[in-house]
Amino acid sequence: MDRTLVDFVKVLRTAEINVSPAETLDAMQAMDIVGYSDRNFLKDSLSMVLSKTPEEKEAFNSCFDRYFAFQKFKSDETEPGGDGEGPDQSDDSDFDQQADGQRQSGGKGSGQGMGQAGGSEAIDDENGLQPSSKLGKLLLSGNKTELTIAMAEAGREAEVNQIVVFTQKGLYTRKIMDAMGLKGLQDEIAELQAHGGRPQNQLSGKLKKARDRLREQVRDYVEKQFFLHADESGKQLREELLKKVKLSNLEKRNFKDVQEVVFKMAKKLIAIHSKRRKTYKRGQLDIRKTLRNNMQFDGMFFDLKWKASKVDRPKVMCICDVSGSVSNYSRFLLMFLYSLAEILPKVRSFAFSSDLGEVTRLFEQSNLEDAMARTMRDYGNGSTDYGQMLMDFKRQCMDDVNNKTTIIILGDARNNYGDPKSEILREMYDKSKRVIWLNPEPKMSWTVGDAEMKKYAPCCHQADVCNSLTHLERVVSNLLRSVA
């Protein structure tokens, strides 16, 4: 069972539930205490030990149901009922149902199954013929527990959990069948048919039927394994891709996925950086430190110690070009920054294509999608004019810039041959803590055509290419490091 649990944990991990080895050990302990007899009890217990957020719990539930689906012998016994009365006729029609009931040839669940298995054995006895191959014996023995175990074992041997794409289903089905001893069974059937007699024919027919049924089940099993293992890792693959792809190449239908990725990345950043940002309190006497420190002065309070009082509220101002070519980048940068509200409480954002406007309010009040859409609508058209933008910025909020402010400008610096007004950027450079320019274009084209990067770059503390989520993450991470 330990092995099963470890496999299960692997499945959970692909479903993005982060289970640590320590938690796996806890789960084993819990299983020892809880036992396997009560499915729901076990599920609740494992869910408490292994999944630690409501979302994870949901994922856990579906994983548990899928993973342990083929092993629910217990529930089967009570389930079939009428089904079990007419065994042979119903067998074929049962094919497409859940495979549990038909895992063995004659029987249906051990309750009624006993009787039927006994019945078929009786016939066999009459004929005086028993299958000789291992698989054949197993198939006709009516012991579905053993059969399931054999299948799972074979699956493990065939490494079915490595399945990646849907088309591999046939391959793995075959592999598993082989591992279970298909060859022996085939030989036996062939032999029986060659022999020809009535009992032999009967037996070979039975074996054939059982074999086909088994194949059906194995295919079913492989399919389930595929959904367990490959579906999720496929998703991970896609996410990795999304991180690297150029943001301007993203299609609208991917936005939702990207948003998810951004939130995930933001969460990671929060986890890394939030610990470093300390909120100190001002003006509280630190009695312990004071006493310690004043012991040397005969216990007189001579040198007072205060609780450290450092308030570092990073201020980020983010100026985004939202004209057609760059709007996608702006979109994701803003998405990123606003997902970080927990550690970047003061983000002011501005959008422009020619005239600059503050959109901070908009983002605080409505959700990302709406805010983005409205920003695009209000500021998105018009030809880009960086000089105008800088002038607007100077007029609107140069006074708010101080040595704690980090200014991020996102744009391609294509000014349509207008006046770049780089002297204003110079002023910003002098007044602020940092000016970061993010340019989605590759460095080579920074000076080509109407691009003014040559003039702007010297007035920035940092000028970087930024055209994928990975870039964005790096930039934001650096930003956090320096403000923290």
């Binding site: 640590s20 320590a22 729901n40 609740d44 408490m48 030990v49 957020t53 939030s274 006493l291 216990g299």
Partner: protein
Amino acid sequence: MSIKNDHKLASVEVIQKHFEERDYICNPQIATAVFLAYHLEKPVLIEGPPGVGKTELAKTAAEMLDVKCIRLQCYEGLDESKAIYEWKYGKQLLYTQVLKETLGEILEGARGLSESVAKLHEFGDIFFSEDFLEPRPLLKALKEEESCVLLIDEVDKSDHEFESLLLEMLSDFQLSIPEIGTVKARPGKKPLVFLTSNNTREISDALKRRCLHLYIPFPDAELESRIVHARVPEIPEKLRRQLVAFIQELREMDLKKVPAISETIDWARTLILLHSESLDADLVRQTLNVILKFQEDIEAVEAEIQNVTNKALKEG
């Protein structure tokens, strides 16, 4: 781990039964959490919307086992001197003053500075010993004679640093005090620890890893009805069903703060006071402020009141 009355923790059904005797109606998940917490000796982190009985669970558990419940309320700025221990500074100062007089006697016969210092060293760090230690909730829970229930309430309100402080306590049931050493729980007398969180911020993975995680959602109609029955037994059954149906309807609506179980119970008590027999739109309108705490929510519901009431009456 052994605790008083541990036969009440023998199985999930037993726990449920004993909780029910104390008017705390719980689903199997909650009982499972208590069961595992005791048998695995692990803390339970309880999350869920406000008012679903997270704190109540810990208190009821303590009451059921007839043990002490030590509670630590977390807030921003909570630090070790309030959660773990503090030195009795006043006492230390007083003693230094008093002992100054006797210093002469102690040092009598010592020749030279080095000998005096050596003599003083013999006394050790008397000022930083257990006698001068003021235990705070966490330390208190460890030093209890008998196992107790330790409730760390609203852990999400505390700072990140405090969370890290908790780790030692939660994984090993021990606390380190630099001047004294490590204080461990008595063998077999570990406290039963419950942490609650309202999810105002994400709890760190390190802390989560050390805990069992229990999520208490809003109860379904049947469970809620039983809870109301347990807490407000005098309410007529018809009214109870209507009331629960109404609340369940409200939870489906898009509100700033949906009513929790505590609000349902308050409302039930209110309706009893008003001698109501059955819900109707007017009655609901008058008492809406008991279940909804925001004006905008009240306004939103008022528009729908007739609808929702009718639905509730039909279901109830």
